[in-house]
């Protein structure tokens, strides 16, 4: 009796702490391995690779449908987007993607994929139901970063060699604006409220923030890490927390993730991760962040509350993209 009374609060606290750190969730993190033609699947609870599946050549962009019932994967060198059953790991069908698809974004209508065709200077729009190309839009040289506004009205393509963000009207499939950014833009994303567009520039070493309504530059974020020479600091992939608090920016060969205050644009911290960090994904409640480290071939797990790395997980060769799949 005494013992029980004593134990209960401790047990409750223990359970609570597990819940808050997300350890009770049972989702999976899917990682595309560019030079292995595989996907490594990490169990969110054990933080181990529990499955590896074979996919098309040079898998890069990776995303799930809204209900997570299918996975879309850019198999760049197979010139296709593969539709994969996440349960069986089997390729259900392939979508016409245009040549060399690298990154893509799924429209909030859950039906249209906007795909950057790196070698062709084109953005291809594919209807995933009819499996037909709906439109192809001429963009700048080497399109790469793709983003869609939360209301679905605007899609962004960044072109690496033209150093621009192209603003595409999703109704007319026409470009309504082109905004210049620093050299070699890599990734783009809207804030959760849709008011801002963020674009990273790998060679320029900056992240540019645009006001969406006026399409004008609002802020430019630079980075500086003691002991790392400036031109090794190359912002590539990034993720914005949906509560508007943080931006996590992968700095490529600087082997760090920058933590940026989404409101003040101040860099708060730098977190050491693996070599040549590319992209990342959150788990379901955004308590953990998983970064793909291309050169070291692993994934770093970051505790978002503490802003600390907690584990490194070996995956395949050149992990590129990551996507989260919750358990049923």
């Amino acid at each position: 009796m005494h013992l029980l009374q004593y134990c209960r609060p401790v047990a409750t606290a223990f359970v609570l702490s597990l819940a808050s750190s997300g350890a009770l969730a049972e989702g999976e993190i899917w990682v595309s391995n560019e030079k292995d033609n595989t996907i490594s699947i990490i169990d969110e609870q054990s933080l181990d690779v529990v499955r590896t599946i074979d996919v098309g050549e040079r898998p890069r962009g990776i995303t799930f449908s809204q209900d997570h019932s299918v996975l879309y994967l850019c198999a760049s060198d197979s010139d296709t987007v593969q539709v994969i059953d996440p349960e069986s790991g089997e390729v259900l069908n392939e979508l016409p993607s245009g040549e060399d698809p690298e990154q893509f974004i799924l429209h909030p209508d859950d039906r249209h994929l906007y795909i950057a065709n790196e070698d062709d200077a084109i953005t291809t729009v594919v209807d995933v139901e009819s499996r037909k190309v709906v439109a192809q839009i001429d963009v700048g040289v080497e399109p790469e970063g793709m983003a869609v506004s939360p209301d679905g009205k605007i899609v962004i393509t960044t072109s690496e060699s033209s150093n621009m963000a192209h603003w595409i009207d999703t109704e007319t499939h026409e470009i309504i604006a082109n905004t210049l950014v620093d050299q070699r833009p890599r990734h783009a994303s809207f804030t959760a409220d849709g008011s801002e567009l963020w674009v990273s520039s790998e060679i320029g070493g900056t992240v540019t923030v645009f006001d969406v309504e006026s399409q004008s530059e609002k802020a430019k974020i630079g980075f500086e890490i003691k002991g790392v020479r400036p031109d090794r600091i190359q912002p590539v992939g990034f993720e914005l927390t949906s509560d508007g608090k943080y931006a996590f920016v992968a700095l490529g060969p600087a082997n760090h993730i920058a933590v940026v205050d989404q409101q003040t644009y101040e860099v708060l911290d730098y977190i050491l991760v693996g070599r040549r960090v590319w992209h990342m994904t959150f788990n379901g409640d955004e308590s953990l962040l998983f970064t793909t480290n291309g050169v070291s071939g692993d994934v770093t797990v970051i505790d978002v509350a503490k802003l600390e790395p907690t584990k490194t997980i070996k995956v395949g060769r050149f992990p590129w993209g990551a996507a989260y799949r919750p358990s049923r």
Binding site: G140, S162, A177, Q183, P253
Partner: protein, 410 residues
């Protein structure tokens, strides 16, 4: 096509239905006006003509019959650069054109240069050091922006520099420093040097002399190549004897820029030593083996346009056109003086598929760039190598730095 064949009544119906929804229509009209005004701001239609002037050199005999220099070397890179610029320019109302002029070695170069300068003051030049200076010193070239895409002569970046002449091809000093850094990193600091008989081979050897002094590398033996024999048949007999007398060394370095005899040194040494310089491990602006930092995309674009792999001079021509394009994008001008000022400023940066932003040295107009060290199938290293530090920019550990530059016209 379907739009233009629309019949009269249909379009009338369209107007009526538009009027019925007049509030939306007005809003749309307003938006259209806004977009149109935005469009007209963008299409201030700036035309930029870039000239390309090449003087074909008399062909030189080499022992191997297999390779020929592509006739479009350099030009193919410039053409790709213009295509890239136009893909960007079409969103900004900027159009780029290339006006090429190729003259034979016995033709009137300066006449052609004057004519081309009458059309445009932005010029890429593919010719010898002497010709470059003659063109740069023409009265018509005053205030022009000339870019050397093929000549590695160190003096052009040093005391013979010209204010209107920039360089996207690395100097021999930059290539030599890249090789020296690699050798120091590997601790292969005892060299034997085989110098070719041509003036350019001597010039490369001089650059290596200077560089090895800077990086404390010991050239312990050197010989000038002097065989008249056809090495394809008897390299195996001749070369071991030729290099046998060299003192103990880690690296056999050869200067043979035209690619005549150097290839026969590989695997024919007296002792097993790697070969570097003009053969074996080569420092150069570019090679078909470069693929990192997105370079594979540039290689693919180049190959599909020209049907061959990209060479150093092609890369230098591409970079020259892209540098002009970048300056036009940023300054929205085609004035050579404004473009030159921007290109030499701290604001200029160019993504050149080498993993670092490229810029020009304001003291001599040389494009700063990493130098890949390659063999035909892979990149072995890329200079500046880890550990070679510089107070401002590590790429300035390659070639003539500000403090040692004797260029005074910048």
């Amino acid at each position: 096509m379907p739009g233009s064949s629309k019949s009269e009544p249909e379009s009338l119906k369209h107007v009526v239905s538009l009027l019925r929804r007049w509030p939306t229509t007005i809003a749309c009209f307003g938006l259209a006006l806004l977009l149109a005004s935005d469009q007209s701001a963008a299409s201030a239609d700036l035309e930029v003509t870039i000239g390309y002037l090449e003087r074909v050199q008399p062909p030189v005999p080499v022992l191997s019959n297999l390779e020929t220099t592509p006739a479009d070397q350099g030009l193919a890179g410039a053409e790709l650069g213009v295509a890239d610029n136009n893909k960007t320019g079409k969103f900004l109302g900027q159009t780029f054109m290339l006006k090429k002029r190729v003259v034979d070695h016995d033709e009137d170069l300066l006449g052609a240069a004057r004519e081309l300068l009458g059309r445009t003051k932005l010029l890429l030049l593919d010719m010898t050091s002497e010709d470059l200076l003659a063109v740069a010193d023409l009265p018509e070239a005053k205030g022009a922006l000339l870019i050397n895409i093929s000549e590695g002569d160190v003096s052009l970046r040093d005391k013979s520099c010209r204010k209107n002449l920039l360089h996207t091809i690395p100097s021999r000093a930059m290539l030599a420093d890249a090789l020296s850094q690699f050798a120091v990193q590997k601790k292969w600091t005892r060299w034997a040097l085989v110098e070719g008989p041509e003036p350019e081979d001597k010039a490369f050897a001089e650059a290596l002399d200077k560089s090895t002094e800077k990086f404390d590398i010991d050239i312990r033996g050197r010989k000038v190549w002097g065989f008249g024999a056809d090495m394809r048949r008897n390299a195996a007999q001749e070369v071991p004897l030729f290099v046998q007398s060299f003192p103990e060394h880690d690296l056999l370095v050869v200067t043979d820029e035209r690619g005549d005899f150097g290839r026969y040194l590989l695997y024919n040494g007296w002792i097993p030593r790697p070969v570097a310089g003009s053969e074996g491990l080569r420092p150069d602006a570019w090679s078909g083996a470069v693929e990192q930092h997105g370079a594979a995309q540039l290689q693919r674009r180049f190959k599909s346009a020209s049907g061959r792999s990209m060479r150093a001079i092609d890369y230098a021509a591409w970079a020259a056109v892209r540098a002009i394009g970048e300056a036009v994008t940023q300054t929205k001008s085609n004035d050579p003086v404004a473009l030159r000022a921007y290109i030499l400023s701290d604001d200029f940066e160019l993504a050149g598929y080498k993993g670092r932003k490229l810029s020009f040295r304001p003291w001599n107009g040389q494009l700063r760039q990493p130098i890949p060290l390659t063999h035909p199938r892979a990149v072995v290293a890329q200079a500046p190598l880890e550990g070679f530090l510089h107070q401002l920019n590590e790429m300035d550990t390659l070639g003539i730095d500000r403090a040692e530059s004797r260029c005074t016209s910048f």
